[in-house]
């Protein structure tokens, strides 16, 4: 009976095996760490909303202030989604018959809420305070992107913990004059981080990295 030996051609597997045994764990770890990161999973999330509300039209073209609808953003954690009544302030006059607005009219008539789909969804164990960020001179655009140019709102930042920490550790590039917080198109005249450093001092911005800052 012939003894089993590896045939000569199988030597080619040696380096392959060697490399795989080292590379596979690295690759799998990498795949796991980065492939499943919110950066790849969440950015670009763009759900269809029940009412085709265009931020590009309202906030962009018509130039409505963010706070017209999201009116609690400066005082509360939540930048409240506006009640149907806010829509009806205008739409009792404008586009009264539009099919797109059928749901809005129905909601206003019945008092039943419109079921908007949440775009920027943080886990329930995370607490994010809109007002605190605005008071520190952080603009809407830092997290939400150019909503004023979006037909349909989509997520542009990963909203991951690492991403939050990046800014908490180095907030300067995102700090702007409080007057420009709602001006999504605003560009700094000087380098953002230099201006940011000045403003940080002025506003007393001291972002914390304690667990309890966001998790309670």
């Amino acid at each position: 009976m012939s003894v089993f030996h590896f045939p000569r051609w199988s030597n080619i597997f040696r380096p392959i095996l060697g490399i795989t045994s080292i590379a596979a764990p690295v690759y799998l770890t990498g795949l796991f760490a980065f492939g499943a990161s919110p950066e790849n999973l969440n950015v670009g999330y763009k759900p269809v909303q029940p009412v085709p509300f265009s931020h590009a039209l309202h906030a962009g073209e018509l130039g409505m202030d963010c706070r017209y609808c999201h009116n609690t953003v400066q005082e509360a954690n939540h930048a409240a989604i506006p009640p149907t009544a806010t829509c009806m302030n205008c739409h009792t006059q404008l586009h009264k018959e539009s099919d797109a607005l059928a749901l809005v009219r129905e909601s206003a008539a019945t008092g039943k809420p419109i079921q908007w789909v949440r775009v920027h969804d943080l886990p329930d164990y995370v607490r994010f305070d809109h007002s605190a960020h605005l008071h520190a001179g952080i603009s809407c655009v830092s997290c939400h992107g150019r909503v004023d140019q979006m037909e349909v709102v989509e997520q542009v930042e990963p909203l991951s913990m690492g991403w939050c920490l990046d800014c908490h550790r180095n907030p300067e590039p995102n700090i702007r004059p409080k007057s420009e917080v709602f001006n999504l198109a605003w560009q700094a005249d000087e380098a953002p981080h230099i201006l940011g450093a000045k403003l940080r001092k002025e506003y007393g911005v001291n972002p914390q990295e304690d667990c309890s800052t966001c998790h309670r």
Binding site: M1, V3, F4, H5, F6, T29, F32, A33, F34, S37, P38, E39, P158, S160, M161, G162, W163, L165, D166
Partner: protein, 467 residues
């Protein structure tokens, strides 16, 4: 070294003729060891044992499933005894997993030839024990599905594990130890696997053993590299023998719980681990040599040597017990003093005295040559040592936690049936792996045993074609 210069004792110690009885030839040794894997059927005892082992393994599976589905509360853990049996079992198994590497690596470096008959066996035991040990810390956490957070993997949270935590050191220590032990065991087995491959008479056997023997041809170059690699691995593994249980002891020593927070723990744990490891080797070896007809390869002298190690380490452990008490008193720390008085005279005194008698008192019988060479005496003793070493971990973990600083939180710990079944089940895992090992792999390091046969050292080169 000229023989004339040696005393009779030296000769007995180093002359290999006494290690293997009956002066078998190389062929005979090969036939006897490799042949076991070729038996058409293992002995009936193997089947019975395997059935029991599989049943226990099934129980383990059921318990763990229940645990994962329901929660850690299925065990008896509570406040303040947040660590109960799972951690006791973990330390117990890690301890057992010490003998293998000690025998393979340390005794190898010290040129203790008697190790050759038992090292394969002990190494296998080590690996299976470490597998059982690894199981417990993994499943004892509250959210098993997040246990991977213990590994320093880059992640979206920008968070590392806490490198100051001894539990994290454990992760590294135990996984390193498992890896090196496995490598060591496997590498040592390659020549023997090749032997079995070469003797194979079915295609499946040939292929299976062929793949795992990695093309071993027994050439001079192979042997040369093998010896070098073996020596290197032995050198690498030796510090691990000390490190792994030292690190495990840090789990306790670094915490400030009275009864845990002592500097004696690392050496004490290592000695205890060697102690329990050898006891387990003897526990397994005695029936194995009986059933597989290896009594002349694993001789009474081997058993006796192991019993001597057990006696020695048992006394080190006993010394550690005394030192703990002394330090508790000498430190003047009332909490520490209470912890030890409580161990010996508190509600867990029964566990403490079980531990002391099993670990310190009974092994004293090994002072007598007759007794340490008597299977009927040594077997109960090593079994008691196994029990005693489990209780040592129980005493350390549970008694210390059950009564620490603030008396209003004191509480007696009661295990649940699941605790007991899980522990029993871990023996199922261990035994299953072990039984498969003795059935399919060479349980004696054939190639190494041959080096200590008289034939290998006979005057001149009386070579036999063993292969």
């Amino acid at each position: 070294m000229a023989k004339a210069e040696l005393t009779q004792l030296d000769v007995e110690a180093i002359y290999p003729a006494n290690l293997i009885e009956g002066d078998p030839s190389f062929t005979q040794v090969t036939q006897e060891v490799a042949g076991i894997t070729e038996w058409p059927k293992p002995p009936r005892a193997w089947y019975i044992a395997f059935a029991i082992a599989l049943t226990l393994l099934g129980i383990l599976g059921a318990c763990l499933t229940y645990l994962v589905v329901t929660g850690v509360g299925v065990w008896g853990n509570n406040q303040p005894v947040a660590w109960g049996w799972p951690i006791v079992n973990f330390v117990f198994w890690v301890g057992i997993g010490h003998a293998g590497t000690l025998i393979s690596a340390v005794l190898f470096l010290f040129r203790q030839d008697w190790r050759t008959s038992i090292n394969r066996f002990a190494e296998a035991m080590t690996i299976f024990a470490v597998a059982c040990a690894g199981l417990f810390p993994a499943v004892h956490v509250g959210r098993i599905w997040f246990a991977y957070w213990l590994f320093p993997i880059p992640n979206q949270m920008s968070m590392w594990p806490n490198f100051r935590s001894p539990l994290l050191w454990d992760v590294f220590a135990v996984s390193t130890y498992a890896t090196v032990s496995l490598l060591f065991w496997y590498m040592g087995m390659i020549p023997d696997l090749a032997t079995i491959r070469d003797r194979a008479n079915t295609k499946i056997r040939r292929m299976a053993y062929g793949v795992f023997s990695l093309g071993w041809s027994g050439s001079n170059r192979h042997w040369h590299r093998y010896e070098r690699a073996y020596l290197l691995l032995a050198a690498l593994a030796t510090p691990l023998v000390l490190s792994v249980h030292s690190v495990v002891s840090f789990d306790f020593a670094v915490a400030q719980t009275p009864g845990w927070h002592t500097t004696i723990f690392p050496p004490y744990f290592v000695a205890g681990a060697v102690f329990s490891g050898f006891a387990m080797v003897v526990t397994l070896m005695v029936p194995a040599r009986q059933f597989f007809g290896l009594k002349h390869i694993v001789t009474m002298r081997h058993l006796e040597n192991m019993n001597k190690v057990i006696l020695t380490t048992g006394m080190i452990v006993g010394y550690a017990y005394m030192t703990e008490f002394f330090m508790a008193w000498y430190s003047g720390n009332q909490y520490e003093a209470f912890a030890f008085v409580n161990r010996a005279f508190g509600p867990y005194a029964w566990a403490y005295w079980t531990m002391v008698s099993c670990n310190v008192l009974f092994p004293q019988l090994f002072w007598f040559r007759k007794l340490r060479r008597n299977l009927w005496v040594m077997y109960p003793i090593v079994l008691l040592v196994n029990v005693g070493m489990w209780f040592e971990r129980f005493v350390i973990t549970v008694t210390s936690l059950s009564r620490d600083f603030v008396p209003s939180s004191w509480q007696y710990f009661k295990p649940t049936a699941i605790d007991m079944l899980t522990f029993l089940g871990s023996f199922g895992l261990f035994a299953t792996l072990f039984l498969l090992f003795v059935r399919f792999l060479p349980m004696i390091a054939v190639a190494e045993v041959k080096t200590v046969l008289p034939t290998a050292h006979a005057h001149g080169h009386k070579k036999e074609e063993g292969e």
